[in-house]
């Protein structure tokens, strides 16, 4: 503490210790906040399997959006995984409705919440076949920022302004955790390494979440209650089957 430089060094050294301890305390407060997420509805509204996709040069291999809108109910599609691939695959497009209350996941330490819906179905060979016992593919996801992280949202200026105004003056906004989605188009159409998904039975949708804190550990929806953190119940849809390939007009 004799000279200026030594004082700067020692003060900064102790500051790092204090900052670390405060961060650890903040992370620990997550445990005190109860998590009681609930799911009201998770169901498919519309599934399609497409077998043939006409490749449009302008919009890439999976241009069914352009060629097949509006989408008919429940379908699978077949097309190429890449525009240079000779492999033809089937693609399922699963629309769904979701009603969930994840507002308890928003605390002062929540930066953003990643919510995603997967489709799952048992593997053809079962668990003993050396393959994965369950196929799982994400069909939709969403990032819900807390007001403290709004500036990180990947939005244009207008949408950003609207987002910020929605939580003006609030440091936390649990209402953002209330999801009510009707007949949502999936973000990702899904397929399987075998190239076959049509007429697959026992498919379910599952809702997942991932809490991303400012400081601390990432946490996902748990399979078991953990003190004040409850499991996400009712996050599975009813079983459904993917339909047969939708016939399309053969290109001439």
């Amino acid at each position: 503490m004799y000279s200026t430089v030594v004082r700067i060094q020692n003060t900064f050294g102790f500051f790092t210790t204090v900052a670390f301890v405060v961060a650890a305390l903040i992370a620990a407060t997550d445990l005190l906040a109860p998590r009681t997420p609930t799911v009201g509805v998770l169901k498919t509204t519309n599934v399609q399997v497409y077998g043939q996709i006409r490749v449009l040069s302008s919009s890439g291999p999976l241009s069914w959006r352009a060629t097949n809108s509006p989408l008919p109910p429940l379908s699978s599609v077949r097309g190429r995984p890449h525009y240079y691939s000779s492999k033809k695959e089937e693609y399922a497009i699963i629309r769904f409705s979701l009603d969930a209350d994840l507002s308890s996941l928003f605390t002062w330490n929540t930066k953003q919440l990643f919510v995603y819906v997967t489709a799952e179905w048992p593997s053809a060979g079962g668990s003993g076949s050396g393959q994965n016992a369950t196929n799982q593919a994400v069909i939709w996801d969403s990032i819900i920022t807390a007001p403290s992280a709004d500036h990180l949202a990947n939005l244009g200026p207008v949408a950003m302004k609207k987002l910020r105004r929605s939580a003006a003056g609030k440091s936390i906004d649990p209402s953002r955790g209330k999801l009510s989605i009707k007949n949502q188009r999936p973000k990702y159409q899904i397929t399987h390494p075998s190239g076959k998904v049509a007429e697959q039975e026992d498919v379910v949708l599952r809702l997942h979440y991932n809490v991303q804190p400012w400081v601390g550990f990432l946490t996902w929806n748990q399979d078991a209650d953990f003190w004040r953190w409850k499991t996400l119940r009712n996050n599975l849809s009813k079983k459904f089957a993917l339909p047969a390939i939708k016939k399309k007009d053969e290109p001439k």
Binding site: M1, S3, F15, V18, L25, I26, T107, W214
Partner: protein
């Protein structure tokens, strides 16, 4: 003249403080920085606003830096009293390298 000026600049840059001042700085840093951390955490937690924690922590630390880094006069209130240079007489029984001088 130039040497004097250089000395002054060096003193300013080094910012020396006396022993009592150093003890005081040590105490201030430990107590106040801990206090800043505690206040930042509790205010943020009860207001449920993590940005408040960040800003209180950073502002408090910056203020503390301003308080302890410059050689303020109150860190120099107990200057060390050195023996006079080239004293009139060698003190009796002054031991240098195990030999008694004088």
């Amino acid at each position: 003249m130039a040497e004097q000026l250089l000395d002054q600049i060096r003193d300013l840059f080094e910012g020396q403080i006396d022993f009592e001042g150093q003890k005081l700085v040590d105490l201030l840093v430990n107590v106040l920085l801990t206090l800043v951390g505690a206040v930042a955490f509790f205010v943020g937690y009860f207001r449920q606003d993590i940005k408040l924690t960040l800003y209180i922590g950073l502002a408090g630390t910056a203020a503390l830096f301003a308080l302890v880094v410059p050689p303020w006069p109150f860190f120099n209130r107990h200057p060390v009293k050195w023996l006079p240079v080239g004293g009139l007489a060698t003190p009796a029984n002054l031991v240098v390298d195990s030999k008694i001088l004088g």
